[in-house]
């Protein structure tokens, strides 16, 4: 079920499947909670979340209908955020949640705008297949994880621009031709499904 929610978040479902999934969300509270959790994680990763927010969200969930409006477009799905690297590998879910409650370093205003539509797309795929709301999959080897100290968040389009400017100067190109540019087009966040 969670993968359907994730696909809905990603805007990957056809209109018909999307409508069906929205119907499921309307009728199934557990699914609704997962949906809300995914959004909350998206907000948290983006640094839009203040301390105490999880409780506030729960309270509001109790009294409000959840807005079921997938707005993530094909383009947004492409734009992932590069998350901060954890110094200690295998960061536990608990630690992650504890940290996201701490206000993050503010991103540049333009960067925030750029990452806004992207974040929901980033989070769901990382979680798909894992029982919600466990974040263990974000700590898989090779996946960037989030750290409380010196945390950074750079929207993917920004990293992409720096990487595009950088890559042409890599002497490795003289050995591998255009192949190293695959780093630029790599869709890590999605292949983690």
């Amino acid at each position: 079920m969670t993968e359907h929610i994730s696909a809905l978040l990603d805007g990957e479902l056809s209109d018909q499947d999307g409508l069906r999934q929205l119907e499921v969300l309307r009728s199934d509270e557990a699914c609704r909670r997962t949906w809300a959790t995914y959004h909350l994680i998206g907000d948290a990763l983006r640094g839009d979340v203040q301390a105490g927010c999880a409780r506030a969200v729960s309270l509001r969930l109790a009294e409000e209908p959840v807005v079921l409006c997938p707005t993530v477009t094909q383009r947004a799905r492409r734009e992932r955020t590069w998350y901060a690297v954890s110094a200690a590998a295998g960061f536990a879910a608990v630690a992650f949640v504890a940290w996201t409650a701490v206000p993050m370093l503010a991103a540049r205003p333009d960067a925030q705008v750029a990452s806004r539509d992207a974040a929901t797309a980033n989070v769901a795929p990382a979680l798909a297949g894992a029982p919600a709301p466990v974040l263990a999959s974000t700590t898989a080897p090779g996946t960037a994880t989030v750290t409380p100290a010196g945390a950074a968040q750079i929207p993917a389009p920004d990293v992409e621009n720096y990487l595009l400017a950088h890559q042409q100067f890599s002497p490795a190109n003289a050995m591998q031709g255009v192949a190293p540019y695959v780093r630029l087009v790599s869709e890590t966040a999605e292949s983690g499904r």
């Binding site: 590069w82 400017a165 100067f169 890599s170 050995m175 591998q176 031709g177």
Partner: protein
């Protein structure tokens, strides 16, 4: 004044000494890979692996007297395409109807920089020959590049015994864990139709958004920007002003040890808020960001985290 003429000679000796320390047969093999990369036309499918992720892409390369044109197409996920020629790289993202074009003001000619590269390499890596192994149906010579310190990754290369074409390449961290692997699963070396390396998208279509990026050589040290020190083996190979997306007048310094490169971007904040300080990573690429007065420093490199961090922290501004 009388001693001055001796200096250029001494400088010439430095790479020669470094070369002498490396296995000459292994160095010849590296040279063979470089010239194969310059000369060969091919089409193939390769896997790219970093961490738990594996992706498949197609690569097409066409070479004639006017130079090479290459096309890279990921076969998974959204459709994207990179087309690279001598003086520009175009990155097509049809999902958002965007093409990002990176133009080079001075086209780099690989043959001219090669001897320096190989010399540099040998001073930062111990280069040795390994066994012959079979990869994707090709008999391959294994080459090992062991880093002499932890400021760069180690590499294992598999090159086709017949043509010198690099069939597989793997980068290792200091624990000898792979951080990145490229490996052809299928490769046809030889004639390729020129049409096959043309972009699949007509970016002239008015609906496409073109993000153009141009770099111009410029002395950043004259403007007061210096790196107070750099990790051993890394030297400056380029210095320019460029735009990065919508940010203009961004200073760009490139350092390299002959194999890995690190870029330092210096961006005026111009009233914007500083971004987050710290490190992000994907595979072997590390990005470290920090603020320096009213400038934003972003360091990007295919080097270990410590390396980009040390370089970022070495950036200083001295009023000229």
């Amino acid at each position: 004044m009388r001693v001055t003429p001796a200096w250029p000679l001494l400088l010439l000796l430095v790479p020669a000494v470094a070369l002498a320390q490396a296995d000459p047969a292994a160095m010849q093999w590296l040279q063979k890979i470089y010239s194969a990369t310059q000369k060969l036309s091919y089409v193939g499918t390769f896997i790219y692996q970093h961490g738990p992720y594996v992706e498949t892409s197609r690569i097409t390369r066409y070479v004639d007297a006017s130079g090479a044109q290459e096309k890279l197409e990921p076969l998974e996920g959204g459709v994207r395409e990179i087309v690279r020629s001598a003086n520009q790289v175009a990155y097509y993202i049809p999902g958002s109807m965007t093409v990002k074009i990176e133009r080079q003001s001075v086209p780099q000619s690989f043959p001219a920089i090669l001897p320096v590269q190989v010399g540099d390499l040998a001073s930062s890596y111990t280069v040795s020959k390994g066994d012959v192994e079979r990869i994707a149906g090709f008999e391959c010579q294994v080459l090992l590049l062991d880093p002499k310190d932890q400021m760069r990754y180690g590499h294992k290369l598999w090159a086709d015994v017949n043509t010198g074409m690099l069939i597989k390449a793997r980068a290792f961290n200091e624990k000898h864990e792979p951080v990145e692997t490229f490996a052809f699963t299928e490769l046809k070396i030889g004639h390729v139709d020129k049409d096959k390396v043309k972009p699949s998208f007509a970016a002239k279509d008015k609906n496409w958004r073109i993000e153009d990026s141009v770099a111009t050589d410029a002395s950043l040290s004259d403007a007061g920007w210096v790196l107070k020190s750099t990790p051993s083996g890394f030297r400056k190979i380029g210095e320019m002003r460029r735009n990065i997306g919508t940010a203009f007048g961004v200073g760009h310094i490139v350092l390299s040890d002959g194999l890995a490169a690190v870029s330092v971007f210096i961006e005026p904040l111009a009233g914007r808020q500083a971004g987050p300080v710290g490190l992000v990573r994907q595979g072997p690429i590390n990005v470290f960001t920090r603020r320096l007065d009213d400038h934003w420093i972003t360091v990007v490199g295919e080097t270990p985290p410590e390396s980009v961090k040390v370089i970022a922290n070495a950036v200083e501004y001295h009023k000229p």
